[in-house]
């Protein structure tokens, strides 16, 4: 068993995380920008990385930029937007071949780092503004990206349950921004936002691969001249209490209904009882041995999928299932009943043991991909509580039945959302 360890170095304006390993044929570099998600600039933030990856000063068209990336033995380069709790995160990822495995052995890692630095620090800007034509094209693509969420009913209902549940909380904001705000972005306002984010965001740079930390540190420091910053943080433990359960039904022209139920766990990553919450979620709905899978799918044949997952930094437990419209009452009843069983401690020692085994396994498997490692380590940055993987595994294995029940008792149902194909059968 190999448990990966990261080395964290505080450099000017950012933290550098390095993991030295020889199990991959590639080196992976991820730069993450983090700030509290805010209505005022969420849409600027949603378009910014797309503009930065479109072109730079040196590679001033997409064709030139992508041609260069291909020359680097087809490095993968992409950006993505995500949310961890109420943080809005922008990631720049570059995965590049380790030349050791190529017949042509010219060094690639440094070229890759220079390229990433170019994308972040040398954007395609004239006179304090991004290029207008590029911006217009990206605005169109952003609108389409926002609009297309509606078309994927699973994604749509996942977002809708959050809209309803977290109305008036920043967490309800979409990482892709607000469609009505897209037209208000100008080439100047976006450049101003770029500078603000560049100077104020919390920055983490991850490097995983066959590298020597000493070698890369000074090199990275020169290539990524971020300014010193404080970094804005949020209180992740500012929980909203449930007044009454919200029940929302939306009708669309679809065949299969999508049932989503949102619970508040009142526990976040880094809390003492977070481990028990993880086990609880596993017994309840996380896996194919879980209560939801067995009762909603295998026993009652109501669904193909019925599962739960945690939003670890916001304190949510989210259930999703695809069912026939007329089975709404039946499915909701089972899902609620199964949570009641968790609260009463009605689960077997075998269920605890299975869940611990599967979670332990899942954790170790995550460490077999460089992206998995990075996402895992990033939880620590976001929660500002450093938990080593070995410790994480140990704490998880020590969780008792009583602790699981105690965490279950903190959980409150907040919202039942149903996207249905018919109006009847309420």
């Amino acid at each position: 068993m190999s448990v990966a360890t990261e080395k964290i170095t505080k450099l000017k304006g950012f933290q550098l995380h390095t993991v030295k390993t020889d199990k991959f044929k590639t080196n992976n570099i991820v730069v993450k920008w983090r700030t509290p998600i805010k209505k005022e600039n969420v849409t600027h933030r949603a378009i910014l990385p797309y503009i930065l990856q479109n072109s730079t000063k040196k590679y001033n068209t997409t064709t030139k930029l992508r041609t260069y990336v291909e020359e680097l033995y087809g490095a993968t380069f992409f950006i993505d937007l995500s949310k961890k709790g109420e943080y809005h995160i922008v990631s720049f990822t570059l995965e590049i071949a380790n030349e050791k495995f190529l017949s042509d052995s010219s060094p690639l890692l440094k070229k890759g780092l220079e390229f990433l630095s170019e994308v972040i620090f040398n954007p395609n800007v004239e006179n304090g503004a991004f290029d207008q034509t590029i911006l217009n094209n990206e605005k169109r693509a952003l609108k389409q990206r926002i609009q297309s969420i509606y078309d994927d009913k699973m994604r749509y209902s996942n977002q809708r349950v959050i809209d309803v549940m977290c109305e008036n909380e920043p967490y309800a904001l979409s990482v892709y921004g607000d469609k009505d705000e897209v037209d208000n972005i100008t080439a100047q306002s976006l450049y101003q936002y770029y500078q603000e984010a560049l100077d104020e965001d919390q920055i983490d740079i991850f490097m995983v691969g066959d590298l020597e930390t000493e070698d890369v540190t000074s090199y990275i420091e020169n290539l990524f001249p971020f300014k010193e910053r404080e970094g804005k943080t949020i209180d992740r433990r500012n929980f909203t209490s449930v007044e009454e359960v919200k029940e929302v039904r939306e009708v669309q022209d679809i065949k299969q209904g999508k049932l989503n139920m949102g619970f508040r766990t009142n526990i976040v990553y880094g809390d003492k009882d977070y481990y028990a919450l993880q086990i609880l979620n596993g017994i309840y709905g996380g896996f194919s041995h879980s209560k939801l899978f067995l009762n909603v799918r295998e026993k009652e044949s109501l669904a193909y999928y019925a599962a739960s997952r945690l939003e670890s930094h916001k304190g949510l437990l989210l259930v999703m299932s695809g069912i026939d419209n007329q089975n709404y009452e039946k499915a909701v009843t089972i899902i609620k009943e199964q949570m009641e069983l968790m609260k009463k401690g009605e689960f077997t020692d075998q269920e605890i043991m299975q869940t611990k085994a599967v979670i332990h396994n899942q954790m170790l498997e995550t460490l077999d991909t460089s992206r998995g490692m990075i996402e895992l380590f990033y939880h620590n940055s976001v929660s500002d509580k450093y938990v080593e993987i070995g410790e994480w595994l140990k704490e998880m294995s020590k969780v008792t039945r009583e602790e699981i029940v105690a965490s279950a008792q903190k959980i409150d149902l907040d919202t039942i959302y149903f996207l249905t194909g018919s109006e009847g059968n309420a």
Binding site: S2, T21, D22, K23, K25, Y50, T62, T63, R66, T67, E70, E71, Y73, G74, E95, I96, A97, F101, L102, S103, T133, N137, R140, A141, Q144, Q147, S148, Y150, D151, D152, K153, D253, K255, Q256, F287, S288, H289, L294, R297, E298, S301, L302, A303, Y304, Y305, G322, D324, Q350, Q354, T355, A357, V358, H360, N361, Q362, L364, E365, L367, D368, T369
Partner: protein
């Protein structure tokens, strides 16, 4: 046991064909926590017309039966196999494609037990009328889920357009109607015909000792009494070269339109190195025409015809092949026209030496990235082996491809009456 080294990649593959015909491959991966295993039969949704074991006449079975069988193998008299895997910390799964059904698990401990569980549950079917009926509700929901998914409907709509007779045009899961006819006896008939070890391949990748594992597998198989089995007779009707339908427009509950243009391939009876070269040449051709570094991509983006969902892909198996190009668009007819123009213009024109070299580099880099993934290695190796190709020939074959090869591939692939379009538009 044979040992096949790949020096440049620093990997070694172990292989043995057992007495009952089962092919076993083991690829040790040092430094990895997990072991990933697939147990795959050369049997998929297209194999619906065949001579059953012990039979002499061809039979036709209901659409979706290979996938149904995949679901049902997990259920045993004493319960669900998922439970057994999770007790040993493993996560198990399965999938059915056009040509294969694969059962798999990954785990970081108790690997030997999990491997036994995998082999035994696939080799010990247990079907009853009652459990078969129950599964119809679950698979019915799986089918309904895909019915609401515009990308899936677009993909299958395009395949339907292409083929007149070939069963690839049938949805892998079948329909609610077709699966209603499935009985336990039909499942046993398909099972006994296609799940003989000589029609199957076991692949293990992870931090394992190959000798030890090979012995365990032999011991397991030695205890089971398999009779010799001649190759399964499968029947496919003749498929014309032209497409079945030039265009299909699906109206769905969406806000954004989608458009895919397809090309029906004709060189589909290949196997081995010929197939590998053809497949890679077409992939290089599509990259040179449509990748993000191409002028075409830039133009399509600037004209507002595509966004970052734009993609392209080529699929080839024995008996059928197709390319697909497209994505979300605000102007589905405009995108259709533009893609067709690019394709027609590509026929007969050369790609530059420089573009080819760069695109090859990109593919080689992508291959290295892929072999970080145990899942990719096991799944792809199996697919290649069933088509008599070798996954580890990808890099040398790529390196050998010339500008002329690409030109030949383009000329063979692209033909106006083999193009077809499927669109999804808002209701």
């Amino acid at each position: 046991m044979e040992k096949i080294p790949f020096t440049q990649l620093q990997e070694e593959l172990y292989y043995e064909k057992l007495d009952n015909g089962l092919k076993v491959y083991i690829l040790p991966k040092k430094g990895f926590n997990k072991t990933f295993c697939t147990f795959t039969t050369n049997y998929g949704s297209i194999d619906n017309h065949f001579v059953p074991l012990d039979g002499s006449d061809y039979v036709k079975v209901p659409d979706g039966i290979a996938h149904f069988l995949e679901h049902k193998l997990f259920e045993k008299e004493h319960g669900d196999v998922f439970q057994e895997f999770s007790k040993n910390g493993a996560s198990a799964n399965a999938f059915t494609s056009f040509t294969r059904t694969a059962y798999l698990f990954s785990s970081t401990s108790n690997v030997e037990n999990n491997l036994e569980t995998l082999i035994n549950f696939v080799q010990e079917p247990y079907f009853t009328e009652k459990t078969v009926e129950k599964e119809k509700g679950i698979i019915g929901q799986e089918i309904t889920m895909y019915d609401d998914n515009p990308d899936w409907r677009l993909y299958f709509g395009l395949i339907e357009n292409m083929f007149v007779n070939h069963p690839v045009k049938i949805d892998i899961a079948g329909t609610i109607e077709s699966i209603s006819h499935i009985t336990k006896d039909m499942l046993y008939e398909c099972y006994h015909t296609f799940y003989h070890p000589s029609n199957m391949l076991l692949f293990i990748v992870g931090p394992v000792d190959p000798e030890e594992y090979m012995e365990k597998i032999k011991a397991n198989q030695g205890k089971k009494d398999y009779q010799n089995h001649s190759e399964v007779k499968r029947k496919f009707e003749n498929e014309p070269e032209h497409v079945n339908k030039e265009k299909q427009v699906l109206k769905m509950n969406v806000h954004t339109s989608k458009c895919l243009v397809g090309i029906k391939a004709i060189d589909v009876n290949q196997s081995g190195s010929e197939m590998l070269k053809n497949e890679l040449s077409i992939n290089l051709l599509l990259d040179s025409l449509f990748s993000e570094s191409s002028d075409n991509y830039q133009n399509l983006f600037q004209e507002g015809l595509i966004d970052d969902t734009f993609s392209y892909d080529y699929t080839q198996e024995h008996g059928f092949g197709f390319a697909m190009i497209g994505g979300d668009t605000s102007n589905p007819d405009g995108l259709e026209k533009a893609i067709k123009e690019i394709l027609i213009n590509a026929k007969g024109s050369d790609i530059s030496e420089e573009t080819l070299e760069r695109t090859k580099k990109k593919k080689i880099g992508a291959f290295l990235r892929s072999i970080n993934s145990p899942e990719y290695i096991a799944n792809q190796f199996t697919r290649y082996a069933f088509n008599e190709m070798d996954l580890f020939d990808v890099v040398p074959t790529l390196e050998s491809i010339t500008v002329d090869d690409i030109k030949t591939a383009a000329n063979r692939l692209i033909e106006e009456d083999r193009l077809t379009t499927c669109q999804v538009i808002p209701k």
